[in-house]
């Protein structure tokens, strides 16, 4: 227990770690507060509660009628506000007719006497709409339960003919049985909005993944980094007891952190919206309609926290294992994030009914996503046996936790052999480079294997030391050597190159659907600058669609004149209608685009038609772009933090700083190398990606105005698609470079590479990761800089200026920090 206490004290005295934890909590709270403010700006809690109280005194039917009436009243008032007196005629009469029991004239008079403030009115109305929604939902819930049972019955009837023993059959039976137990739950409307506030925890999840890394680093890595492990291990309690207490301390710290992070969010929700009725069944909240448990909101709150703690434990145990098992911090980080990435992909991409849905549900991310434990009832297909997800998740979590913790303890106590095995990364990197590791040579020698190899090796060694970067006085070469060879970043480059090659897929073929085919055909005909001809063509097509083209007119005339029989005409009509129906959707899109093109012609004469689907592959596939950005950051951060922190790790800083070139010149060279590295990575990652897309682009004349293409009509600047592409690439690249400078500066400030890595992951990778998961923080973080195409869609060019200013300021700070530090 004493050790646990010491670990605690160590953590509390580490200002960086504590600051990061507190910072994360604050960021999370601020974000949640801001989001809640935005989405529930109308809410006046006291007013809401008053209405709820009023409703609770009525019977359910009365409440329904009353709410409908109030909503109708507010709808009328809002019309009155918009259209003025005109509304009095239509809407008011309708209101009077629908609800004759109320003296509406009187009410209107009273309302007018209070003063008619439109914004207040709209806010009040929102309360009633919300309540009405809740009420309607409460009424629909029993129906929902019945539907499930009915569906089950009917499905059973059908599947009598198909396979009786199949997964879907059992799945349906099981599902029906579970929902049967929920029969008789009554939904209530007096719950608090807080439920939604604390249930949406994406940001907190992203942050907690980094906090786990930080806590693990503090407890398991710091001493390792400082070379204290051999010392600790040979003390009396240095092995198992120390390991156990470290694990316990980590778990307690994780629990506290989790409770603080999510608890503060819960408290924020409650602070903003009150607790509401905590005893209301959870299914009262429409998001939780599919919840298969008979629990109330209060229980859900506790279970939610519990699940989060479980999830954090699972990740925590994995991180502990990585820290004790791996030799290099880079390996830890890489494995951790690759694992998260894969798990997230599986969680996101796999269909919940597919036969490998086990990978989706029995998944680390799924464990952490506490809300998903309660929002659905799912069965996994295990050899066509349905296995309920939640217990499976629980068992999975406990198993992972036990296995990882056990392995951690083992690794901690049996270090040497283990470490040899985990040296894979290093051995790989050095053996790939030289073919033979020096250590191996020694062992060969001792086995007297071959004098020949030894001589060859020595020759090779001699050559190696004659190479300019190992044997020269150019600082920049030396720093390159430090980065790529000593830091192992050449291997990183190779890895990234491999990944980038497999990720560059170009534009997928989606001419599958007929509408798209039609659209593409049209575009093929009219692509390029919008001219008279284009317009004529479109007008004539329009006539065809409206049956007003010469042919149709002639047909009609001939029919009228009797030269065509009705039968023939009908036949012709039928053909024509088929034709029209086939083309309709595609043509509508073209027409829509025409309007945009015409609007864009005000900007410049180069507006015209381009395949909007394909252009969207350049400017709209945020998902792929952010994946590339994530890779970029994950590859760039370890390299930079290593280069700028290497002196610190081995205590060489005083020596380096006391040499002639050890200050500004050295750091300048490092900076140049860093920019070079970032450039290389950018090229490796984005050139194949864009190359493939450009190769696949058809029907996209690149010199057309961007604003004329659907999706970018808000963009106010007259630049062509090609220019837009180059601008996007340039901004992306510059953001990458300025992030690199920033990373370097932060590393210099916080000290060792490991710390630098952690801080930078938190500041840069987390926002991008969250963007990937669907949480858009692009206004506030580097995401916006990495995805300049977001502005093409929103049209808010001012953002560029904002980014430019922030970027220049940050980089000025960074360069100042790096170069001007202690001179």
């Amino acid at each position: 227990m004493k050790h646990v206490y010491y670990e605690w004290m160590k953590f509390i005295h580490n200002r960086l770690a504590v600051a990061l934890v507190l910072g994360c909590i604050c960021v999370n709270l601020f974000y949640q507060w801001n989001a809640a403010q935005k989405s529930n700006a109308w809410l006046d809690q006291a007013f809401f509660d008053a209405q709820v109280d009023q409703i609770l005194e009525m019977s359910q039917e009365d409440a329904g009628i009353w709410l409908d009436r109030e909503c109708a009243w507010y709808r009328f008032l809002s019309q009155l506000g918009t259209f003025g007196e005109a509304a009095l005629e239509g809407s008011f009469m309708q209101l009077k007719m629908e609800y004759p029991e109320v003296d509406w004239n009187l009410r209107l008079q009273e309302r007018m006497e209070d003063g008619f403030d439109f914004s207040v009115l709209m806010r009040e109305a929102s309360h009633f709409y919300e309540l009405q929604k809740r009420q309607a939902y409460a009424l629909s819930y029993p129906v929902f339960l019945q539907t499930i049972q009915k569906q089950a019955d009917s499905m059973l009837g059908i599947s009598l003919f198909s396979d009786n023993e199949g997964f879907s059959q059992k799945n349906i039976l099981r599902t029906a049985a579970v929902y049967e137990t929920l029969e008789g739950q009554e939904c209530r409307i007096d719950y608090s909005m807080a439920v939604s506030v604390w249930s949406d925890s994406q940001l907190a999840d992203g942050l907690v993944l980094i906090l786990i890394l930080i806590i693990g680093w503090q407890i398991f890595w710091q001493e390792k980094e400082n070379g204290l492990y051999p010392l600790l291990r040979c003390t009396e309690n240095g092995k198992l007891p120390l390991a156990v207490s470290k694990v316990i301390a980590a778990m307690i710290l994780l629990t506290v952190t989790t409770l603080l992070l999510y608890g503060s969010q819960i408290l924020l929700g409650i602070g903003m919206y009150g607790t509401g009725n905590l005893e209301a069944p959870l299914v009262s909240v429409s998001e939780f309609r599919n919840c298969p448990y008979r629990i109330c909101i209060g229980t859900y709150l506790l279970l939610f926290l519990l699940v989060k703690v479980t999830g954090v434990f699972v990740f925590g145990s994995l991180v502990m294992l990585l820290y004790t098992g791996c030799r290099r911090f880079g390996t830890v980080i890489a494995v951790y994030f690759v694992m998260i990435g894969l798990e997230f992909m599986a969680y996101r991409q796999i269909d919940s009914l597919s036969s490998i849905n086990g990978l989706k549900f029995i998944n680390l991310i799924a464990v952490l996503d506490a809300k998903s434990w309660f929002t659905a009832y799912r069965n996994i297909n295990i050899f066509s046996e349905p296995l309920t997800v939640v217990p499976a998740k629980l068992v999975f979590s406990v198993c992972v936790w036990i296995v990882c913790t056990g392995l951690t303890l083992w690794c901690f106590c049996v270090p040497e052999r283990k470490q040899e095995k985990l040296r894979l990364f290093k051995t790989l990197s050095s053996s790939v480079e030289s073919g033979i590791d020096e250590a191996e040579i020694h062992s060969w020698n001792s086995h007297r294997k071959s004098e020949w190899i030894r001589r060859r090796w020595n020759n090779f060694g001699e050559i190696r030391y004659k190479l300019p970067w190992a044997n020269g006085t150019s600082l920049i070469c030396h720093e390159g050597y430090n980065l790529y060879r000593l830091g192992g970043m050449w291997l990183m480059l190779l890895l990234v190159l491999g990944v980038s090659m497999t990720m560059a897929e170009g534009i997928p073929d989606y001419s599958g659907s007929r509408d798209v085919q039609v659209y593409q055909k049209y575009i093929l005909q009219i692509q390029g600058i919008y001219t008279e001809e284009t317009e004529q063509f479109l007008r004539s097509e329009e006539l065809v669609m409206r049956l007003e083209d010469p042919e149709a007119v002639q047909m009609k005339q001939e029919l009228a004149a009797g030269s065509v029989t009705q039968d023939d005409y009908d036949q012709w009509m039928e053909k024509r209608e088929v034709q029209i129906r086939l083309r309709e959707v595609g043509f509508q899109r073209v027409l829509e685009q025409e309007r945009l093109v015409q609007a864009a012609r005000l900007l410049g004469s180069d507006a015209g038609f381009a395949d909007a689907d394909q252009v969207s592959c350049l400017f709209q596939n945020d998902n792929e772009q952010i994946q590339h950005v994530l890779l970029f950051l994950i590859a760039v951060i370890p390299g930079i933090t290593w280069l700028f922190g290497m002196e610190q790790t081995c205590g060489m800083k005083p020596l380096i700083v006391s040499t002639v070139s050890g200050r500004i010149p050295l750091r300048l060279r490092k900076l140049i190398q860093v920019i070079g590295y970032a450039t290389l990575l950018y090229l490796i990652l984005f050139v194949p990606y864009y190359w493939e897309i450009w190769n696949d682009l058809e029907r996209v004349p690149a010199d057309l105005l961007l604003a004329g293409v659907k999706g970018y009509e808000n963009f106010p600047l007259p630049i062509s698609i090609c220019q837009a592409f180059w601008i996007m690439a340039a901004i992306q690249y510059l953001t990458g470079v300025s992030c690199s400078l920033y990373i370097a500066a932060v590393t210099g400030k916080v000290g060792t590479p490991a710390q630098g890595c952690l801080v930078n992951f938190l500041l840069l990778v987390v926002p991008c990761f969250l963007f990937w998961t669907g949480l858009n923080l692009s206004e506030w973080t580097c995401v916006g800089g990495f995805l300049p195409s977001l502005v093409y869609r929103s049209g808010e060019v001012l953002y560029y200026w904002k980014y430019l200013c922030i970027g220049i300021l940050l980089d000025a700070w960074a360069v100042y920090r790096i170069l001007g530090q202690d001179d």
Binding site: E438, H478, L486, M652, P654, I656, V657, V660
Partner: protein, 306 residues
């Protein structure tokens, strides 16, 4: 060539006063900076190597502040830091090349110097191995090689012999005395024998203050009549060690021969005076908590001089 420290005081951020009004004048030759752990030796060296900026006071080289023309000053500097860690992935030779690049030594010259230094510190055979595989002594030698690579005028060595076996110690000592011509060498250590025979002057540093700066011979002369030898039985030994500042013990026919430092009246035993060594000097000044205060002792030496 002259390096001057004027009234240097350094207070660390947490309020720890590491140096208190230190003034020194250094001219070419070896200076032994002697003091126990925590005396402030490394702090002083960090100030001389411009790693730290002193809280007050100034360091002057050739009459100019070392912070004023920092780069020119650093180009004449060779520094061997107190050993903590090194670039374990680099090979020894590569490390020297890296340092040569940092010290802006021209390529041809660097090549010659590096091979020469490797020969000198006997690392030629192992120069292409990773530093991580070096022993402590090899690392120390490599660090020394690095420090003199640019043929510095000021050579700062912070505990160069820490953790070395006696043979290595002697080698390093000889090496330092060989290269000490025409340069200022400041060698910090808490082991007296490291500097005893090679130092031009000894600087005794204690709790951040310089308490003595004299040639070894002068220091030893001062101690005349303050070092004694007497015999005790094995049972008495523990008491005696508590009572007196014992600088050495050896076996003699009657029991154990104790060598102790102190004034005549302090040592109440049958004793005979012996010639002092530098070891005795160090002990005399550093173990202040026994008997009278440091001031008294310095006073008593001045009295003796009179």
């Amino acid at each position: 060539m002259e390096l001057e420290l004027e009234h240097i005081t350094h207070i660390y951020k947490k309020g720890k006063k590491a140096l208190d009004d230190v003034s020194l004048r250094l001219t070419p030759g070896v200076y032994g900076l002697l003091g126990p752990n925590g005396a402030g030796k490394s702090t002083l060296m960090n100030i001389i190597t411009t790693n730290l900026i002193p809280t007050s006071g100034e360091a002057l080289f050739q009459g100019r502040s070392i912070l004023a023309d920092n780069r020119a000053y650093r180009s004449r500097l060779g520094y061997m830091p107190q050993q903590q860690g090194m670039y374990n992935q680099m090979t020894g030779r590569h490390f020297l090349w890296y340092m040569a690049a940092l010290k802006k030594i021209p390529r041809q010259e660097a090549k010659k110097r590096i091979e020469y230094m490797l020969e000198l510190v006997s690392l030629k055979e192992t120069a292409n191995q990773r530093i991580g595989s070096y022993s402590g002594g090899m690392k120390q030698r490599l660090l020394i090689a690095q420090a003199v690579l640019n043929d510095p005028e000021i050579l700062i060595l912070d505990e160069p012999t820490a953790g070395l076996d006696p043979k290595e110690r002697i080698r390093i000592r000889n090496f330092v005395s060989e290269i000490s011509q025409n340069r200022i060498v400041l060698l910090a250590t808490h082991v007296v024998s490291d500097v005893e025979c090679i130092a031009k002057e000894i600087i005794l540093l204690k709790q951040g203050t310089v308490i003595r700066q004299k040639t070894p011979a002068e220091l030893i002369c001062e101690m005349d009549g303050l070092v004694w030898e007497f015999c005790v039985s094995a049972e008495e030994l523990a008491d005696v060690q508590k009572q007196y500042r014992v600088s050495n013990l050896s076996i003699c026919p009657e029991g154990i021969l104790v060598r102790a430092v102190g004034k005549r009246e302090e040592i109440r035993r049958r004793k005979r005076p012996v010639r002092a060594g530098l070891e005795d000097v160090y002990l005399y000044y550093m173990e202040a908590d026994l008997g009278d205060s440091l001031e008294n002792r310095i006073q008593s030496i001045s009295d003796a001089e009179v």
